[in-house]
C-alpha cells in the first residue's frame, strides 16, 4: 500500500470500461435515418442468436449455452441472449430482424483484414480504398453534397470522396473564440488543416450543448447519436464503433456485459428518436464470427459466419433469416466454424436500398462492387 500512498490517484476516465464508443455522421436530404453499429473484435453470433434447436448446439457450446436457456425464443431454432431485453421487445413488435450464418466475403481470421473488408465493402482486404458507408452518400437522395461529420476520427467505412465530419464529446475546456478565429487564419494556406478545421468548427456550432453528454457509456452514446440524427438539419447517416467482442476467454460474463451495453444503446436510440424511429434503420454487424466449439479458456476463437441485426420502425422483423448450415462437424467451415450461407453484402445492400428507396442493383454496385452480380436481399425493410 505504502508504495502508492504518494502516487496521485490516476482516475483514468473509463479506463476499465475499455474504449468509449465513437461516432461519425454524414448528412443527406431524406427523412430516413441510418445507423451502422460495428462490432469490432468478431462478435460471437452463435452466442447472441443461439441455435438452441440444433441438436449439436448444447454439446458444442457447453457452459456457454447455459445463459441461453433464459433467452427469448425467437422461433423453433433460435433464442436471443437474455441480456438483449430491448432487442427481444422490438422483435416482439416486428421491429427487429436477425440474420444468421451470415458473413462478408472475407474467409480468413485476421480482425484487421476482416474489418477492412467489412468497412470497405471489397472482396478482399485493402482492395477498395474508400468505405461503403461513404459511397452510400453518393446514392442516397441529397440536396447539397455537403455532409456533416461527428466523432474524433473517421472510421474506414465512412472514409472516402464525400466529406464526412466527426464529433465526440470532449472533456477539455473549450478553446476561446478569439483563438479559434486565429487558428482559422493560421490554417488558411494549408489545404489539409484548412479542410479539417472548417469541418471541426461547423460541427462544434451544431453540437452545441451536446457536450453535456459524456458519451462514455453505450446508452449515452445511443442518446447522443439520436440527438444528432433527430434535427431536420442534422445527420442522416451515423456510425457507432463498439469494441470488446473478441471473447477468447471468459466469454460468458463478457458477452453478457457487451450485449447489455449494445441493448442499452439500441434502446436509447429508439427513445431518443421518438416518432422518427419509424424512419430509422439500425444495422449491427461484425467482421466475422467465432468457433463453434468452446476453446480451452471458456471462450471462442476466430471463426467465420456470425449474426447480423436490423432494428427500426420500418424493419419487417419478428423473424430470423437463416439458411441454417447445421453444426455437425462435417457441416462446419474447415471443420470448426459456422459455415457462411448468407452474404452480408447482399443483406446490407438490400436493407439500405429499400430503406432509402434506391434501386437494389444500384445499391449493390455502389456499395459492394465486387459482389455487384449478386442480388441484394429484398423484403427486409418496408418500402
Amino acid at each position: 500500500m505504502d508504495r502508492r500512498s504518494f502516487i496521485a490517484r490516476a482516475g483514468a476516465v473509463g479506463l476499465l470500461g475499455s474504449f468509449a464508443p465513437r461516432m461519425a455522421f454524414a448528412r443527406a436530404a431524406t427523412p430516413k435515418r441510418f445507423v451502422f453499429v460495428i462490432q469490432r473484435g468478431a462478435a460471437d453470433g452463435l452466442g447472441i442468436v443461439a441455435a438452441i434447436g440444433d441438436p449439436m448446439f448444447a454439446g458444442a457450446r457447453g457452459d456457454l449455452a447455459a445463459d441461453l436457456a433464459a433467452g427469448t425464443k425467437l422461433d423453433a431454432m433460435f433464442a436471443l441472449h437474455p441480456a438483449m431485453a430491448t432487442g427481444a421487445a422490438l422483435y416482439g413488435q416486428g421491429q427487429a430482424l436477425f440474420a444468421h450464418a451470415i458473413a462478408s466475403p472475407y474467409r480468413d481470421r485476421s480482425h484487421f483484414d476482416g474489418q477492412n473488408v467489412l468497412e470497405t465493402g471489397g472482396a478482399g482486404p485493402y482492395q477498395v480504398r474508400d468505405g461503403w458507408l461513404n459511397r452510400l452518400l453518393g446514392v442516397v437522395p441529397t440536396d447539397d453534397a455537403k455532409a456533416i461529420a461527428v466523432a474524433a476520427t473517421i472510421p474506414m467505412a465512412l472514409r472516402g470522396r464525400h466529406d464526412v465530419a466527426s464529433y465526440a464529446p470532449s472533456a477539455l475546456p473549450a478553446a476561446s473564440d478569439d483563438l479559434l478565429a486565429r487558428v482559422t487564419q493560421l490554417y488558411q494556406g494549408d489545404a489539409q488543416l484548412h479542410a479539417l478545421w472548417g469541418e471541426a468548427t461547423a460541427t462544434r456550432a451544431l453540437a452545441g450543448d451536446l457536450t453535456q453528454d459524456d458519451g462514455r457509456n453505450a446508452a449515452a452514446t445511443g442518446a447522443l447519436a439520436a440527438r444528432l440524427l433527430a434535427p431536420d438539419n442534422g445527420a442522416r447517416i451515423a456510425m457507432i464503433e463498439t469494441g470488446g467482442w473478441d471473447t477468447h476467454a471468459g466469454q460468458r460474463g463478457r458477452l453478457a456485459a457487451q450485449l447489455k451495453g449494445l441493448d442499452a444503446m439500441i434502446g436509447a436510440l429508439r427513445t431518443g428518436l421518438g416518432p422518427l424511429w419509424s424512419d430509422t434503420l439500425v444495422l449491427v454487424a461484425t467482421e466475422f464470427g467465432r468457433t463453434v466449439a468452446v476453446n480451452g479458456t471458456g471462450g471462442t476463437d476466430h471463426g467465420q459466419a456470425s449474426a447480423a441485426m436490423l432494428f427500426g420502425g420500418g424493419v419487417r422483423g419478428g423473424r430470423v433469416l437463416a439458411d441454417w448450415p447445421g453444426l455437425k462437424t462435417a457441416d462446419l467451415y474447415e471443420g470448426r466454424d459456422l459455415k457462411p450461407t448468407t452474404q452480408l453484402d447482399a443483406f446490407i445492400a438490400g436493407a439500405v436500398a429499400d430503406h432509402f428507396a434506391i434501386d437494389p442493383a444500384r445499391a449493390m454496385a455502389a456499395l459492394f462492387p465486387a459482389s455487384a452480380k449478386v442480388a441484394a436481399i429484398g423484403g427486409l425493410v418496408r418500402v
Binding site: 490517484r9 482516475g11 473509463g14 476520427t153 470488446g244 460474463g253 451495453g261 479458456t297
Partner: protein
C-alpha cells in the same frame, strides 16, 4: 524542413528550448545509441510487473477466501469492454466485501497504470536520447497490449519498461522473446490459460469429466500464437495457415505466468511456483509431441519447442519485410517507398535483426530526409513534442492519463492487439484537431507568458518556420496566445 528540423522532429520527439541545434544531424542521431538510458531515474519509482502481479495475486487470494466463505464472486475477467455504467459486469448480487475488494484492486491497477504513464512521459521529456525513446514507443505499439481487463491494466506499461526498453538497441529476436514471455502479453492474449488437451493436466481433466458425464473444461487458446505470426513477426497473409496457427498454439502451451491464480488448480497446472508475475514453463499443461509449423518439424522439447519457433520466425524474410514496412512507414510516410522497404529489410536480414544496424539504415535512407513533412503526428507525438517545446519536465500522472484519453490515444490502450495505426487517416480528424487546439490553449495558459513563441519557433523548427506561422505569432494578442498558436501550427502538427 531543414535536416536539423527533421532530425529533431521526424526522428526525435521535438526540440527543447535552450538545447543546441544539431550541427551534424545524422551523427546526432547515431550518438544517441551511446547516451540512451534503458532504466532512467524517471522509472526508478515506477511499479514493476512483480509488484503489480503480487497485488493481483493478493486480490485473487482474497476472492478465493471469500468464495470459500460463501460470498458470491464476480468474474475478474468480466471487464465491460463496451463502456461505463451501461455495461456493468454481472456482479449486481455480489456481496459488499467482494465489491469492495474488486474496487480496491481496480484502483490499485489504475494507480499503477497512471504511475507508469507518468514515468514514460518523463522519460520522453527528459531523456538524453529522444530518437531511441521514439523507437521504444514504436516497439511498444508494435507489441501492443491493451489496458482493458483488470489483469492487464496495471501490467500494460511494465511490458514497455521490462521487455522493450532493455532490448531497443539489441536484437529483434531478444525483444520478441522478452515480450512473449512477459506477463502482460501472456495474460492479454490469453496464453497464460492455454492448456494442451493431451498434456498431463488436460488428460486428467478429460478423464474426470468423462467419469462425471461432463465435457472437458480446459484446452487450447490460439490467440497469442496467431497474433505472434500475424502481428509480431511474419505479418498477415504471408503464407501461414490455420493449421500452422493451431500447431504453434500447441507448441506454446506451458508458457504461462506464475502465481496469478494460486490454489489447487495452479498446483496441478504447475504454475504455483515462483513469484507472482514470473514467466514459468509448466510441463503439466504442455501439449506433448513434435509440431510441424510452416513445413518445418519441431521435435518435442518442452519450453524449447516454442522457443525454436520464435527463433525461426524472428529472422524469417517475411518478418524482415513486415518490420521494414512498418519502420519505413514511420519515417518516410504513410505510403512506404518500396526501395526503402527493400533496403531496411535487407539490413534486417543481413544483420539477423540487429536493431542499431537497422536504425542506421533508416538514418542513411534519403527517403527519410525529404523536406516536406511526411507524417501527421499522432496525439502522443503531438503532446510530447508540445510539452518538450514548453520545457516541461514534470507531469501529474492523472493529468497525462486524462489528456491522452481526451486526445483520442490513451497510452497502452489501443483496444486491439494490432496497436494504434500509423497513418494520417487515423489521426487527422476534425474533432481531433479541435481538441489539440483546446489542449494547446490550456498548456499555454499554464506557461503564464514566460515563453516568447516568436523566439521559440526557430529553435523548434530550425530554418523551417513558414511565413504564415511567423506572421500569426507576431500578430497574436498575448504571449500566451502566440504560444497556443505555435503549438497548433502546421509545423507542429506534422513531422
Amino acid at each position: 524542413m531543414s535536416e536539423a528540423a527533421i532530425a529533431l522532429n521526424r526522428f526525435g520527439l521535438g526540440a527543447r528550448p535552450g538545447e543546441a541545434i544539431p550541427a551534424r544531424p545524422k551523427a546526432w542521431l547515431v550518438d544517441q545509441f551511446a547516451s540512451y538510458q534503458p532504466r532512467p531515474a524517471a522509472l526508478a519509482e515506477a511499479p514493476t510487473s512483480a509488484a503489480v502481479a503480487a497485488d493481483l495475486a493478493e486480490y485473487q487470494d482474497q476472492r478465493r477466501a471469500m468464495r470459500q466463505q460463501g460470498i458470491a464472486a464476480p468474474d475478474p475477467t468480466a471487464a465491460p469492454a463496451m463502456a461505463g455504467g451501461a455495461a456493468k459486469p454481472a456482479d449486481a448480487g455480489a456481496d459488499d466485501a467482494m465489491k469492495q475488494a474488486r474496487r480496491f484492486a481496480r484502483r490499485e491497477a489504475r494507480d499503477d497504470y497512471g504511475a507508469l504513464v507518468g514515468a514514460r512521459t518523463i522519460a520522453a521529456l527528459t531523456g538524453p536520447a529522444p530518437f531511441v525513446e521514439r523507437m521504444v514507443h514504436f516497439w511498444a505499439n508494435h507489441f501492443a497490449v491493451s489496458a482493458d481487463k483488470l489483469t492487464v491494466v496495471g501490467l500494460a506499461g511494465t511490458l514497455e519498461m521490462e521487455a522493450i526498453r532493455p532490448h531497443v538497441l539489441g536484437h529483434f529476436a531478444d525483444m520478441l522473446n522478452a515480450v512473449e514471455r512477459h506477463p502482460a502479453m501472456l495474460l492479454y492474449l490469453d496464453q497464460a490459460v492455454s492448456v494442451g488437451p493431451d498434456s498431463p493436466l488436460g488428460q486428467r481433466v478429460t478423464q474426470r469429466a468423462a467419469q462425471n458425464g461432463m465435457t472437458r473444461k480446459v484446452g487450447l487458446n490460439e490467440n497469442l500464437a496467431r497474433e505472434i505470426l500475424e502481428l509480431h513477426t511474419l505479418g498477415v497473409r504471408t503464407g501461414y495457415t490455420q493449421a500452422d496457427v493451431t500447431e504453434f498454439a500447441r507448441a506454446m502451451t506451458g508458457w504461462t505466468v506464475a502465481g496469478i491464480g494460486r490454489g489447487p488448480g495452479a498446483r496441478a497446472a504447475g504454475t504455483a511456483g515462483g513469484q507472482p508475475g514470473d514467466f514459468v514453463f509448466a510441463p503439466a499443461i504442455h501439449e506433448p509431441g513434435a509440431r510441424t509449423i510452416m513445413g518445418r518439424t519441431y521435435p518435442a522439447g518442452g519450453e524449447a519447442q516454442a522457443q525454436a519457433v520464435l527463433t525461426d520466425v524472428a529472422i524469417h524474410p517475411a518478418t524482415a519485410t513486415h518490420i521494414a514496412t512498418k519502420l519505413t512507414r514511420h519515417f518516410a510516410g504513410d505510403t512506404p517507398p518500396p526501395a526503402m522497404v527493400d533496403r531496411i529489410s535487407a539490413a534486417f536480414l543481413a544483420s539477423k535483426g540487429d536493431l542499431p544496424t537497422i536504425y542506421r539504415a533508416i538514418i542513411e535512407s534519403p527517403e527519410a530526409w525529404v523536406e516536406t513533412p511526411v507524417k501527421f503526428k499522432n496525439p502522443w507525438e503531438w503532446t510530447i513534442s508540445s510539452l518538450r517545446a514548453l520545457g516541461t519536465t514534470q507531469v501529474k500522472p492523472l493529468v497525462m492519463v486524462g489528456l491522452m484519453n481526451q486526445l483520442g490515444q490513451p497510452v497502452w490502450k489501443p483496444g486491439q492487439p494490432v496497436g494504434y495505426d500509423d497513418i494520417a487517416g487515423s489521426w487527422a480528424g476534425p474533432d481531433a484537431l479541435l481538441r489539440r487546439v483546446e489542449a494547446a490553449e490550456r498548456f499555454a495558459t499554464r506557461a503564464e507568458g514566460t515563453i516568447d513563441a516568436r523566439t521559440l519557433a526557430p529553435q523548434l523548427f530550425p530554418a523551417s518556420v513558414s511565413a504564415a506561422t511567423a506572421q500569426s505569432l507576431a500578430r497574436a494578442e498575448s504571449p500566451g496566445q502566440a504560444l497556443a498558436l505555435l503549438l497548433v501550427a502546421p509545423e507542429m502538427m506534422r513531422r
